[in-house]
């Protein structure tokens, strides 16, 4: 059990703070919602009523969709786009989908490779794009949820002010929908772009999101890529574990 917790502490830790933050959002959002209800001479609602309301659903979904869009675009963009010197980027020259050998596909797969990486055909094609496919599906699903919940929430507000409701099609073209959407997108794009460039010059010791502290500013790629880029063969091979030696040797041979 302790080993399981240690081996999965990153996922479990973020899962836990996600639930705590969602609970905090529900409690704070409920208080804010009821303040507005009272200001409009409407009845306060229970926490259960609030967390099943379109207002809460729209607030949650609009943040989810932008986060999944951010990661989907990053996964897609970093296939081809490069930031020289960034730990978030592939090295210049490795742009693109890479060869089957580099990706350990089909005959180049290792004994420990997933079955769908070895078998070839449609299954390997699907598995080769599964991360982007699932992240994009979650993005589109949460964006759809935002549009449906936002439509209901917007129209409830319209009716409170004796204004006629909008159809769903009109709502997804409305200023409210795009304001909610773009205010989230811009912050995600800023965070990703700034991370890519700041990682060129700044370091965080011990984090795989950073180059090692002593890496040169023009060294591109994370810790694993860094070791695969020898200045001289002897320098790089010295002191590396056996498994890494194999991949370094393969790289040098190429």
């Amino acid at each position: 059990m302790r080993r399981f917790l240690r081996d999965n502490s990153l996922s479990l830790g973020f899962g836990l703070i996600f639930l705590l933050a969602l609970l905090g959002q529900a409690v704070a959002g409920h208080a804010d919602y009821n303040d507005q209800q009272i200001a409009h001479h409407d009845d306060p609602v229970s926490l259960g009523h609030y967390v099943t309301s379109s207002s809460f659903a729209a607030d949650v979904a609009e943040n989810w969709q932008s986060e999944y869009l951010q990661f989907s675009l990053y996964i897609l963009g970093t296939i081809w786009l490069i930031q020289r010197g960034s730990s978030e980027s592939k090295r210049p020259g490795r742009s693109g989908r890479e060869s089957d050998e580099e990706q350990k596909l089909g005959g180049h797969a290792e004994a420990s490779s997933p079955k769908w990486a070895r078998v070839g055909g449609l299954r390997t094609l699907v598995y080769s794009n599964s991360l982007l496919a699932i992240m994009t599906t979650i993005w589109l699903g949460s964006w759809l949820a935002q549009s449906v919940a936002g439509h209901i929430s917007y129209n409830a507000d319209q009716l409170d002010h004796q204004q006629l409701p909008l159809s769903f099609v009109h709502y997804v073209g409305s200023a409210d929908f795009w304001s909610r959407t773009l205010q989230n997108w811009q912050s995600e794009f800023l965070a990703v772009g700034s991370m890519a460039i700041l990682a060129v010059y700044l370091r965080q010791r011990g984090s795989p999101e950073s180059k090692v502290v002593g890496a040169a500013h023009d060294e591109t790629g994370g810790a694993d890529q860094w070791t695969l880029r020898p200045r001289t063969r002897n320098q790089t091979l010295a002191g590396l574990p056996t498994l890494e030696l194999r991949s370094v040797a393969a790289t040098v041979a190429r």
Partner: protein, 87 residues
Amino acid sequence: MACAQLSSDAAQEVAMNAKRPCEKAVRDLQVKGTTVQSVRVYGDSATVSFTGGDTAFLSDTKQGWRVDAAGCQPQAPSAPEDCEVQA
């Protein structure tokens, strides 16, 4: 009876405008249409359109659905409707 279907704010507004109790004042209101044409519900709010063009706006309260505004007619596009009864 009709006043019981109004929200408390709307009932107060009817009585205050007419300077009479709501039960008497409500009989003089010019609300057209008796047949429901369409009902649309969004969250805790709803609108009911009647044949003849009038619209009512309702909200879901602890006492059930109550009328916030009735006898409403559209004004400029996107503007609030002009209502005979309004909270």
